[in-house]
Subunit: 257 residues, 2 copies
């Protein structure tokens, strides 16, 4: 099975892409909604949580792990790869970086994400590894996750906040913008309208699944339609956002640590 | 020592009131920043966390516990009182209710808080216990906590969001509004400007400390100036908000579970 974890339900946008691009593979999902969000927390805490999340997925049959959370990808991917060296681990950052580097023409790339992701500097570092001539402009947008979780994806307040976050990037003249958080694809329209329709948006959820597809031959994955969706805390509100993020019906199951 | 816990740093507004109203008593604070916020989580999870938070404070010398978090007060106060029957436990809801009931003239009271607090219906229930003729109007304002934590306390975006949250309450003609979340005192000006200056704002942090002061004779509390401030996850950003909330310098110390 393909295992996906996230700090909450945002990683379901990755599952949505798996269902779209790889409909023959079963998925086991874990959303750490009892401790969500990870975005403002420290590296040490995020590594501890990501390790627990991975253990959970492995114990539920995962054969490959996708870190469906940019914050955990930024802060904990290396530690997970080291600890679980016999399990393929994919993070959402490198595929988005690869895509952005191939797409940009004017070599000016923007990155938006949570405070944790942006402060880690991981996007900038990985972009520069592939092409040191690219200029990277990063902005933390901490209110985007709560706005998506309120389902305020096209409210005037959200547009106003998006304009404030993005106006600095706009003046830099970027031609490519990485959506460095799995919640942000739900704000694509607002973001595009504020940053300008000519700026290409790179969606990390979509890119990591393309990468998985390319590497599928290397893994001996079971096929089948099943999906299992676990969260560490379940409320009716979480159930609602989950369906919004996945774009379809989903039955979440609560699991205690 | 007076023990205060909260899901994060919001409960520091309670400590600020202790410093103001009871400057001779030492405080031990625990903010569960590794699992913050509690506001959108389930009752069972909140009870589990509140119990762990209380155990931590007791092991650090607390003789009386203030639940400095409306969500935990709403969801876990009864369970804590039962479990720790030999320790006085104060929650932030009843004192604010008492105040609001004594203040309202037209018997129309508004309550704002997190989704957890509002869904619990605890304010409405407690108000009706004191005066069944009072009409209670409640609104969840889930974006207020992230806005305070971004330090966006007087931005136009915040005013716009406040207007949207409060416009329904305004049409009801309330004359009293309970700020049912320890973060909200930092939004007092915005809230007052949107709900109308004639509406009395009741601040749960301030009221719970008045209640403690009245009951002080019953407790044999140590005096002294010391304050100890623990959080389960520490970042520079949390350190900054903490100072903003406390209105003064504070050294946070990180503790792992």
């Amino acid at each position: 099975m393909i295992g996906v974890f996230d700090s909450g339900v945002g990683g379901l946008t990755v599952v949505k892409e798996i269902f779209r691009q790889l409909p023959d593979y079963p998925v086991v999902y874990f959303g750490d909604t009892a401790r969500t969000p990870y975005g403002n927390k420290s590296k040490e805490t995020i590594i501890r949580y990501a390790t627990e999340d991975t253990d959970f997925l492995l114990s539920h049959g995962a054969q490959v792990i996708i870190i469906g959370c940019n914050t955990a990808s930024a802060e904990a991917a290396e530690e997970l790869e080291e600890k679980y060296s016999s399990t393929p681990i994919l993070e959402v950052i490198s595929p988005a970086v690869k895509k952005a580097v191939s797409v940009t023409k004017n070599k000016k790339v923007g990155v938006i994400g949570t405070r944790g992701t942006i402060n880690s500097g991981v996007y900038e570092r990985k972009i520069k590894e592939l092409d040191p001539s690219i200029k990277v402009f990063s902005v933390a947008c901490p209110l985007f996750v709560p706005l998506v979780e309120e389902n305020w994806t096209d409210r005037p307040e959200t547009k106003m906040i998006a304009r404030r976050y993005l106006q600095g990037l706009k003046t830099k003249g970027i031609d490519t913008l990485i959506l460095g958080c799995t919640h942000y694809p739900l704000l694509k329209e607002v973001i595009s309208s504020k940053i300008g329709a000519r700026v290409a948006l790179v969606d990390s959820a979509s890119e990591v699944v393309k990468e998985l597809q390319e590497k599928l031959g290397n893994f001996d994955l079971k096929t089948g339609k099943a999906g299992k969706f676990f969260v560490s805390d379940l409320t009716p509100h979480i159930q609602n956002i989950a369906q919004k993020l996945l774009g379809g019906k989903v039955e979440l199951e609560e699991t205690k640590d």
